[in-house]
Symmetry: C2
Subunit: 115 residues, 2 copies
Amino acid sequence: MDDDALSTADLLRALGNEHRLTILEWLADPRSHFPEQRDGDLVDDGVCVGFITDKIGLSQPTVTNHLQCLAKVGIVNSKRIKNWAFYKLAPERLQQLEAALSKVAATASRIQKSP
Amino acid sequence: MDDDALSTADLLRALGNEHRLTILEWLADPRSHFPEQRDGDLVDDGVCVGFITDKIGLSQPTVTNHLQCLAKVGIVNSKRIKNWAFYKLAPERLQQLEAALSKVAATASRIQKSP
DNA sequence: CTTCTATATAGTTATTTTGCTATTTAGGTA
DNA sequence: TACCTAAATAGCAAAATAACTATATAGAAG
């Protein structure tokens, strides 16, 4: 929606937290980190808040907050099934950020290597 | 020095600020953004604090603070010549971060594309 | 030796972030 | 209908961040 007013700094800030990075790594490969879910597939639908809460050792509202923070910048997407909320990683957004960093790094390398 | 206790989150947090990102882009290609310096080469030695301060429109101590923040995580290096402090981008660090993001994104893509 | 200049440090304040507990909401289930 | 269960929201406190002004420091210049 209001996706456009989103800066690279917003994205980086969303990733700049140990807990959120941990969650991100879990969501990148959910089957390696969580048991199967009754309603909703770990990979296709995402991971429910409860599983993440149990594993990370923070309160449920705090975890919801971290997930919403990631969702706001489009790094994860959420979906409701029954009364579960499933969060799933959006790799495109990460690749987008990767490209932005790559550009700066490449410019600097090019400039610094010049005669 | 105590470079090892540095997490990816620390790096991302350092980059997650509009002003610091702006400075980074300037430092990636200093000759496109700053006039030549009397003592110290823009590319080889880095850009002095004063130039950055003038261009960004923040107070000098605030700029020093941002630069030290970037230096602490190794994104820039600093060098003193006479009584100037020159800050220079370290592209390796950015590439390192890029690689870390790339890994997570690649894992997620691989997992999500599986049958 | 004094003065000037560039940067760093100290100290303060406002804002943002991160966490919590308590409560609300909304969808199932007995 | 009344009751669970999962997640979201509200409200609050502590800590971190980002900015400023004033001051200290260290090297150069006179």
